[in-house]
């Protein structure tokens, strides 16, 4: 899928040349030339890229604003990013195969989106707060959430298995777009507290259509909330390509709400790191929200329940393989740093160990106690819940009696 395909549809009825066709003062053209407006709508939008697909560092006028944010990055830090991506991918693959083995009910793979997630995740500070969707396994990794904790909801033992306050990493949110408002509110709270941390809210290209996301844009702009909206445009919302959600590039959505939007190469971990840092710094400085669109690709199925062969050609995926985020950074590490084979070999071993640990932990994950149904429905209790819990207990006990009476029969 090319950028052109997210451009405006061809007119429904033939557009007869007529006076007044283009409004001299329409928003797209205010204070600029018509050519500029055309450019915005039809041309390939500019993409912040710091590494070519081959791993060569790009520096030019377009990168100047972001270069400072990665200017003093060390080879060790670069290797750290590489390690994050490799381990995340490994964890993800492990989860996919655990689903195939029946250990998980479902899995939403992030394959292909490692750079977007690791770059943005590593841009956050410890006191920042992150609101993910359901696919941010790489961001969770950066936040220090034990990856096995992510598996609880996919296994069906809980609806979110970690304490969001430990790592400032909120629970996965399944209702599309909702969390962008929570992020905005949280950011409003940060501003009230006079703190200088920031919030980052993840969402997808499909989510951009939800009213909640637009409301989050409105609230964050009006209250100048320190929040970064990080949209991973992976080109697909289940079976729907991005052109079913918008006819112009998504990052442009922000401008109409009064804050900047920028498109970054979502397969370039360095660019994602730099742009997200830039946006988070804006937030910290009190300059309000930013929309970052990470242009990337969902290499796998939407989830393990999905069958993408029904709706997309595999050559699209193959084309994106050439832009693989991990290979790209490896190219850079090999050509521009002193990274040696030992690093890659060690990482491979670490990766194996992680896979093993994940398998073991998942297989040992106990089913929840039956009474967990009633736990945490309320913080302060609720008379009916107490009543139902008691009835449930009596009912369960009646089987215990039967079991005792009937021995092994039941």
């Amino acid at each position: 899928m090319t950028v052109e395909s997210t451009a405006a549809r061809k007119p429904r009825r033939s557009a007869a040349g007529k006076t007044g066709t283009t409004g001299g003062k329409a928003a797209g053209t205010t204070g600029t030339k018509r050519t500029a407006a055309k450019k915005t709508t039809n041309a390939e939008p500019e993409l912040v890229q710091l590494l070519t697909p081959e791993g060569k560092r790009i520096k030019n006028a377009g990168t100047a604003a972001y270069d400072p944010y990665v200017a003093d990055i060390t080879p060790d830090e670069l290797r750290g990013l590489y390690r994050d991506m490799v381990l995340t991918r490994r964890f993800d693959a492990e989860a996919t195969s655990l689903q195939r083995q029946g250990e998980l009910g479902l899995w939403a793979s992030l394959l292909g989106q490692e750079a977007a997630q690791i770059g943005s995740g590593r841009a956050t500070r410890e006191d920042d707060y992150v609101f993910p969707t359901y696919r941010e396994h790489g961001v969770a990794w950066c936040r220090g959430v034990d990856p096995t904790n992510l598996l609880g909801m996919f296994r069906g033992v809980n609806n979110g298995g970690w304490d969001p306050t430990t790592n400032n990493f909120h629970l996965y949110t399944i209702v599309i777009g909702s969390q962008t408002l929570h992020a905005t509110g949280y950011a409003m709270g940060i501003a009230k507290d006079g703190a200088d941390s920031a919030v980052i809210a993840y969402f997808g290209d499909g989510a951009s259509s939800q009213g909640d996301v637009a409301e989050a844009f409105t609230f964050s702009a009006v209250y100048n909330a320190p929040v970064v909206f990080f949209c991973q445009n992976n080109q697909w919302a289940i079976s729907e390509p991005t052109e079913k959600q918008t006819r112009v590039p998504l990052y442009q959505r922000a401008q109409g709400f009064g804050f900047p939007g920028v498109r970054v190469d979502g397969n370039d971990v360095l660019a994602c790191l730099a742009v997200t840092k830039w946006a988070l710094e804006r937030a910290r400085r009190g300059e309000g929200p930013t929309l970052v669109e990470a242009y990337t690709y969902r290499m796998g199925a939407h989830t393990t329940s999905d069958d993408p062969t029904r709706y997309r050609h595999d050559d699209e995926r193959v084309a994106w393989e050439a832009k693989d985020p991990i290979a790209r950074l490896r190219g850079y590490l090999e050509s521009e740093t002193d990274t040696n084979e030992g690093f890659f070999a060690e990482l491979e071993a670490e990766s194996e160990a992680l896979g093993r640990r994940v398998r073991e932990v998942v297989r040992a994950m106990p089913d929840p106690d039956h009474f967990a149904i009633f736990e945490n429905a309320y913080a302060d209790g609720h008379a009916l819940v107490d009543e139902e819990r008691a009835q449930f207990a009596a009912y369960q006990a009646s089987f215990a009696d039967v079991d005792e009476e009937e021995g092994k029969e039941r």
């Binding site: 009910g105 009213g211 079976s239 079913k244 029904r310 039956h370 429905a377």
Partner: protein, 338 residues
């Protein structure tokens, strides 16, 4: 408009065994064929054919203009469906899962339900909102809920739920033909259950309950996914010598109180079963009204079996949360003990 062959069309006139999902698919196909104003809209209903394949093949045969992949925005889907209905279309809208209907709730409650009355009858909104609902499929959060009570309380809506493929086929036909908005709850855990469907014989009106099994000792009333369970309960009870009558209510708004009353006047006992939480659920309305209607016939209070007053639990707990054979039998025993 359609690319179906004559042979295929002829094939439709025979009774056939269809899975519930496939029956809805054929019903939609029939409606798209018969009425050029019928549209199918929703997320992923096109090439993918919906996440449950209920709309499989429809876009291929009827085109993107009639089977429409929408942006990911439920309020927008229902809101534009209302506009299309005002223009004379009959949109059949898919909400991907029960838990995702809430962004559309405002449009459904304040607009879809009320516009006919607001316009003093001058406009009609023949919109069907399809919602795969209920649990039992081991899904993650928001994918297993039963929110039908939240729609039944709202005047202006009709709420139905088929329990089997034949009803699914026919109730969908009738829902599309209805000039009122219909919330069509599809029992997703029964999507793969097969039954005979005769596309030529209407089994009865949309809002009429059906006696699925006759009995004299107690009435079990259910709809959608719980009908099958109640039949199993009746089987089990029969082994113990109890003759349970099983009612498939089919419609939640209106509720066919007449049929329930008839049954309860015979059996004197009623247990209502649904997946939705008991508190403020359908069972409450049924219990209240049937108690009023059958006060002197009831030998026991109407009992309700349903979900607990807690968020739908993670999949590994749903067996405990949902009504199952033993829990319904337990209620039957409690009722008979009066």
């Amino acid at each position: 408009m359609t690319t179906q062959t004559a042979a295929q069309t002829a094939g439709q006139s025979a009774v056939k065994s269809l899975a519930l999902a496939k029956a809805i698919n054929e019903s939609l196909r029939k409606a798209l064929e018969t009425d050029p104003k019928v549209l199918v809209m929703g997320e992923d209903v096109g090439k993918l054919g919906g996440v449950f394949r209920v709309t499989d093949g429809l876009q291929k045969d009827f085109g993107e203009d009639r089977v429409i992949d929408t942006p990911l925005a439920e309020s927008g889907i229902v809101g534009t469906a209302i506009g299309l209905a005002l223009r004379g279309y009959r949109p059949v809208v898919e909400i991907q899962f029960d838990g995702f209907v809430f962004p559309a709730y405002d449009q459904i409650v304040t607009q879809l339900a009320k516009m006919h009355a607001r316009a003093l009858g001058k406009v009609k909104l023949p919109v069907v909102v399809r919602i795969p609902y209920g649990g039992g499929i081991g899904a993650v959060e928001h994918h297993s809920e039963s929110p039908e009570a939240l729609f039944a309380h709202v005047a202006g809506l009709k709420v139905v739920s088929p329990s089997n493929a034949s009803d699914a086929y026919w109730m969908m036909q009738q829902a599309i033909q209805s000039d009122d908005p219909v919330i069509f709850f599809e029992p997703k855990r029964r999507y793969w259950d097969k039954a005979e469907v005769n596309p030529e014989a209407i089994p009865g009106p949309l809002h009429k309950a059906r006696v699925v099994r006759e009995g004299t000792d107690l009435t079990l009333a259910a709809y959608g996914p719980m009908v099958k369970l109640c039949q199993e309960v009746a089987d089990a009870a029969a082994e113990e010598g109890k003759a349970l009558e099983v009612l498939d209510l089919r419609s939640v708004s209106p509720l066919d109180f007449d049929s329930i009353q008839t049954s309860v006047e015979k059996t004197g006992r009623l247990v209502v079963v649904h997946e939705a939480p008991v508190f403020f659920g359908s069972g409450a309305e049924i219990a209240a009204r049937i108690t009023e209607r059958c006060f002197y016939h009831l030998e026991a209070p109407v009992l309700r079996v349903g979900g607990y007053h807690a968020p739908y639990p993670p999949a590994r707990l749903e067996e405990e949360y949902l009504p199952g054979l033993d829990r319904v039998l337990d209620a039957v025993d409690r009722s008979l003990a009066y």
